[in-house]
């Protein structure tokens, strides 16, 4: 098996190099057959990587410990779900997973654009293949995941680190990788455009959606990382400017900048060099981030080990990358002349330009500060470290400026805003901001950064509300429908623009969450049974400590009562878990009492069994849940911006639909983003259901808690009453002497869906289980492919239609009436 894997990697390398050679040669000689053959080889790489991935996943699923990588990152006791996710748990596998994703994405991008951007395709294929070759080279030479033990193989694996055996950690890396890999596609198209000289805006159109999608995944990955840090590491925060976190943030900044500046190029034909440069820099930063975390060049809590040789390979690759890319840019400078000049600094393009500079500054500041310890050691020989306060000191004001621009940008007109224009546009948002600011001061907030953040959030909300309101009014006037239908029609008509505004709403919510951080409170206390500590409006009383064991780990659980104003709010159960084989690194199981305004966050820091005493760290985290909710809104906004026109066809129809249906649609749209009210309540009685039979124990790990807030913990681990109920139901079923499949069926029937079955099914399915992810992945890719190709067709029609209507509007008799002007403006904006 392992030999086959290594062999496949070698073959893939050869095939990829053929893809490069054939497509470049084909493009130069204008030989369609060569190009086609190169593209075919490119698809073949994807197929081969899929087989290689299947092999390693199979090895994990069947506990093949003769492969070193499998032995290091899994063991027999691990649930099947985590065995599968161990694929990307370590360095070697994560590189392979990277190549696999890149191959898949590249193939889709090439397939979708094969007719539309025929002239670019050979160079796109070549560029992506070269990146693939680099990573395959790394694997074959240095980090082969298929490496085997030469002598006899160990019986059991060492197991994935318990910290990574967490639902968020299982999906966080893939999401980040998809984001990173997605950024390769715009880069490849950019390079192809530079190489061929087809530098009109068509390559931008090809990559716009890709960038947006990659950006969404990147945001998702970052949010999951924060959630993981918050819930699993137990230090009370979610972001500490660790180099690995920063690595994910760097391309996020530049990609955000690109998504904004691309609009300026489309509208005004400016910033063309800038856009190409941003695409290159974004891609470079994804590679640099990988380099930073894989080579041990910076010290970090969760970097992979140090590795000089790897560092050199990466350095050489990055130098080549920068030289070639920017060499191409310089060579093509004459073709990249701007078609327009900046007319005025009081214009939307100027606001975007400033926004771009600031985002770029963010990226380079974070890069500089992250690399500073390494740089200072190289230059002076002294290792100076930079702590989180330094980052915060800089990033807080910069963030506020960005927030301010978020509100300003949409209010300014393209080209030039007149004074009357400004008065008209700014009146409402500025008064919103002032009201918010005044309210905050009146409530007694004395921290300038947070106070300003609240005021600015008010301003941005004002801006967005005004944009939606005015747009809807104009549309209402034009179509004669009710306001809700008009609003939907508006979003449908220019969904990129209004989707973007919804993203801004999400960003504002996230900023509010960050602002809450300043009001964090923290207490540490040693408590004997019955003693209590007061924090904010809560009183935390220690009751007892218990030790239980479930076969995979020993659990030390504390029993805590939370009171407020003398009233008992509930029980909480912070714990420490000692996993077998990882006794040296116990995991901290945080107990969180979530609510809209703040989280009560409780960690068990230490304990004394004899005295039943426990050391607690109690933290009040105000507004953190707004960050997660903000991401929900952001995702909805991005999806709206990504959606094809046809998805909105029904809403854009002129027939004024009933207000009820439209309202329902709106509700549906915002449901995913609704703040989940606290349902996951820690409860003492629930922890003690000890499984009596192996079947019950097994099933406890297989079934997941169905309450919406505990992140699909399995019911053996989850401490909320819902899980408790499910556990006792399970115990009952086992007592009745039912078998595994019967119990499964019973649960599916009881809860009306497959929701309680969390992990992929095991045992009888074991052979098939490893195919499962591929089937799902394949089906979804197919779906994505079909949708994307349909977009392509629709896009052409839509832009033609929009062109016609704009022309018609132009020919309309000149009128000074404001309403018509506004409508005209609206129609023109739709061209965006």
């Amino acid at each position: 098996m392992a030999n086959l894997g290594t062999f496949i990697l070698l073959i893939t390398f050869v095939v990829a190099s053929y893809a490069v050679a054939a497509s470049v040669a084909g493009a130069r000689r204008r030989s369609a057959r060569l190009i086609e053959s190169g593209t075919g080889a490119f698809y073949l790489v994807t197929a081969l990587m899929t087989v290689a991935s299947a092999l390693i996943v199979h090895a994990f699923a069947t506990n093949d410990y003769s492969i070193k990588y499998v032995q290091r990152y899994s063991d027999a006791a691990q649930p099947l779900f985590y065995k599968l996710t161990s694929y990307w748990g370590g360095l070697d596998g994560s590189i392979m997973f990277w190549v696999f994703l890149l191959a898949v994405f590249g193939s889709i991008a090439v397939y979708v654009n094969r007719d539309r951007h025929r002239e670019l395709i050979p160079y796109v294929v070549a560029t992506i293949s070269i990146v693939q070759m680099f990573f395959i080279f790394l694997m074959v030479i240095h980090n082969n995941p298929f490496e085997t033990f030469l002598a006899d193989a160990p019986r059991d694996g060492r197991g994935l680190s318990p910290l990574l055996q967490n639902f968020y950690m299982a999906i966080h890396p893939p999401s980040l990788y998809v984001g990173f890999v997605g950024m390769t596609i715009p880069f490849a198209f950019g390079i192809a455009a530079l190489a061929t000289g087809h530098l009109d805006d068509s390559w931008l159109r090809a990559v716009r959606r890709w960038t947006m999608m990659a950006w969404l995944f990147l945001s998702f990955g970052l949010t999951l990382g924060m959630l993981w840090a918050y819930e699993e590491l137990g230090w009370g925060g979610y972001w500490m400017w660790d180099p690995v976190e920063n690595a994910g943030l760097l391309p996020w900044f530049t990609a955000t900048a690109f998504l904004h500046s691309v609009m300026v190029q489309e509208r005004r034909g400016m910033l063309r060099v800038w856009n190409v440069a941003l695409v290159i820099v974004t891609f470079f930063l994804t590679i640099f981030g990988t380099f930073m975390t894989r080579s041990g060049i910076v010290q970090s809590v969760h970097a992979f080990g140090e590795d000089r040789e790897l560092a050199w390979m990466f350095t050489i690759f990055m130098i080549c990358l920068l030289t070639i890319s920017f060499g191409l840019v310089i060579w093509r400078l004459p073709l990249l002349r701007a078609r327009n000049e900046l007319d005025s600094w009081v214009s939307r393009e100027a606001a975007f330009l400033v926004n771009n500079w600031i985002l770029l500054f963010c990226a380079f500041f974070v890069l500089f500060a992250t690399m500073f310890p390494t740089l200072s050691e190289a230059v002076t020989g002294e290792r100076l470290t930079i702590a989180a306060p330094f980052f915060n000191k800089w990033m807080a004001p910069i963030g506020l400026i960005l927030l301010f621009l978020t509100g300003v940008g949409p209010l300014l007109a393209w080209r030039k805003s007149t004074l009357i224009n400004l008065q008209n546009q700014f009146l409402f948002p500025v008064s919103c901001g002032l009201v918010a600011g005044a309210a905050v001061v009146a409530l007694g907030v004395r921290i300038w950064s947070s106070g300003l953040c609240f005021a600015l959030s008010g301003f941005v909300f004002g801006t967005i509300t005004q944009e939606f309101w005015r747009g809807a009014r104009v549309r209402q006037g034009a179509t004669g429908s009710d306001i809700v239908t008009a609003l939907i029609g508006l979003v449908a008509r220019s969904h990129r623009r209004y989707g973007g505004y919804i993203v801004h709403v999400g960003i504002v919510l996230i900023f509010l969450g960050f602002a809450g951080e300043s009001f964090k409170k923290e207490e540490q206390a040693i408590l004997k049974p019955g003693e209590q500590v007061a924090i904010d409006r809560f009183v935390v009383r220690h009751e007892a400590i218990r030790v239980t064991d479930d076969g995979q780990k020993q659990m030390v659980t504390a029993d805590v009562t939370v009171l407020s104003d003398g009233r008992v709010l509930g029980r909480m159960h912070p714990a420490k878990w000692f996993f077998r084989k990882h006794e040296e690194e116990p995991t901290t199981e945080v107990a969180i009492r979530r609510s809209f305004s703040e989280d009560l966050y409780l960690t068990l820091a230490g304990y004394e069994m004899q005295a039943q005493a426990a050391t607690y760290k109690v933290t009040i985290n105000p507004l953190v849940n707004w960050i997660w909710a903000g991401f929900g809104v952001l995702a909805v906004g991005t999806l709206i911006a990504l959606m094809p026109e046809s998805a909105f066809a029904f809403a854009a129809a002129r027939v004024p639909a009933g207000a009820v249906t439209t309202a329902l649609f709106l509700l549906m749209l915002f449901t995913p983003a609704r703040v989940v009210a606290q349902e996951h309540v820690e409860d003492p009685q629930t922890v003690v259901v000890v499984p009596r039979t192996p079947l019950e124990k097994d099933m406890q790990r297989e079934l997941v808690c169905i309450c919406p807030t505990c992140g699909k913990k399995n019911i053996a681990e989850c401490t909320c009453p819902v899980a408790g109920r499910m556990r006792s139901e399970l115990a009952e079923q086992v007592k009745l002497g039912k078998g595994r499949d019967d119990i499964r069926a019973w649960f599916v029937g009881r809860y009306g869906s497959q929701e309680p079955l969390g992990a992929p099914l095991d045992r009888g399915f074991n052979r098939l289980a490893w195919v499962f992810p591929y089937l799902v992945g394949g089906a979804s890719l197919l779906g994505v492919g079909i949708v994307v190709s349909r977009w392509k067709k629709k896009e052409g029609d839509a832009s033609r239609a929009a062109g016609d209507s704009a022309e018609a509007a132009m020919q309309a008799p000149e009128s000074r009436s404001d309403a018509l002007n506004a409508r005209l403006d609206d129609e023109l904006r739709d061209l965006e």
Binding site: T385, Q524, G606
Partner: protein, 134 residues
Amino acid sequence: MAPRAFAKIGLTAIVIVGALCALMYATLREGTEYYKHVEEVMAQPDAWYGKRLQLHGFVVKDSILKRRDSLDYQFKIESEGAVVGARYSGIVPDTFKSGSEVVLKGRLSPDGFAVEPDGVMAKCPSKYEPKAGG
């Protein structure tokens, strides 16, 4: 582009970049800490008094003292033979034990190393990578 406009833009850019650099330099001074091993510091301790340090060493075997019913710790850390006493008050990480590798944040004074709140970072041998040889 007219030379005048060019000069204007150039000047603005220089002023902005200069101001940023000055700010950065100023804040870097207070934001940074020296990262040192015990023996580097103890070779000439008085040179380091009062400076913010991150001190890297190993906890001396059986040197951890904890006051009953409190979170006050006293312990010694050493590396390459040099030893320094340290005081800390607060919660320590799980991996803080006799013999474990730690990085302490704080300031050195003639009567030992005063660790600032949350300043004990135990370098666990791994988060992603398993223990060497284990």
